[in-house]
């Protein structure tokens, strides 16, 4: 590997921190979805990096990363469908303006 492992992990930690910040602060529901995609990508980066240096010979880390990508696709599809349904009913997708369940 050309670059040392901790530097790759630091990039992953930075992506995770940015994604966490976005997921906590974004008002737009699609913005929150995009931040969650960033978090999933940082996890994938960790899986691939660790698989590169201490992985099993059958590539378990990369297989897991592939599964994560697939599940992220499913999550994005369902999340966007929910956002569209909410927008049709409420005319807004701001996460702090959707308070149907608040008494």
């Amino acid at each position: 590997m050309i670059v040392p492992l901790p530097h790759v992990l630091c990039v992953s930690a930075g992506l995770f921190a940015l994604g966490l910040f976005g997921a906590l602060t974004r008002r737009n529901a699609i913005g929150i979805l995009m931040s969650i995609e960033l978090i999933l990508n940082s996890a994938n980066l960790n899986l691939v990096a660790f698989n590169r240096v201490w992985g099993s010979p059958d590539g378990l880390g990369q297989v897991m990363a592939l599964f994560v990508i697939g599940i992220a696709a499913g999550g994005a599809v369902v999340g966007l469908a929910l956002v569209l349904a909410i927008f049709r009913r409420q005319q807004t997708i701001s996460a702090d303006e959707i308070r149907l369940l608040k008494g």
Partner: protein, 175 residues
């Protein structure tokens, strides 16, 4: 890999290292654009940059199949879907709509502390010596249909369920 680590540091290796750090910086900057852009369309473009950067880092980690998959599925499919969603919902570029809620300070402190703390831990840990080599694509494909066949098939069922569920949720309600 050992050949690369043991050999004298040549100009090509320097160029590769410089390329990695450039890509890493660009990825993090794009991620910052994603979470901070006021215009949601610009945020989606930032996400495209970040996903592309992660794909390039996969290439540095010698995971070529994952790099291509990342480009095809994330940049090709998920991002297109997100942009469709952004365009179907209004008020994306309205400057009067605040982009963040009231938790900005606390979240920024939490994220910054977590990121820097994790980075410090990663940089100060005494890691074991790297042992394994890169995984050939043939091995990856074979283990997908042998050792990990069950989760592979479960994933296809999950995607089918997500497809049907998304159609049910997003269709127009009957009068």
């Amino acid at each position: 890999m050992t050949r690369l680590m043991l050999g004298t540091v040549g100009p090509i290796e320097w160029a590769a290292k410089a390329a990695f750090y450039g890509v890493a910086a660009a990825t993090l900057f794009s991620a910052w654009v994603t979470v901070s852009a006021r215009n949601l369309f610009r945020a989606a473009l930032g996400l495209a940059g970040a996903l592309f950067g992660v794909a390039v880092i996969y290439l540095f980690l010698e995971a070529e199949f994952l790099a291509v998959t990342q480009l095809l599925i994330y940049v090709g499919a998920i991002l297109t879907l997100l942009i469709f969603g952004i365009m179907l919902t209004a008020r994306i570029a309205d400057p009067s709509v605040p982009r963040w809620n009231q938790q900005v300070r606390a979240s920024l402190a939490l994220a910054l502390g977590l990121g820097l703390g994790l980075c410090g831990i990663f940089l100060t840990t005494l890691w074991r010596k790297p042992v394994s080599d890169s995984v050939p694509m043939a091995v990856l494909g074979r283990s997908l249909v042998s050792s990990y066949l069950l989760p592979f098939e479960l994933l296809s069922i999950l995607l089918l369920g997500a497809l049907v569920g998304a159609m049910v949720i997003a269709r127009k309600e009957e009068p």
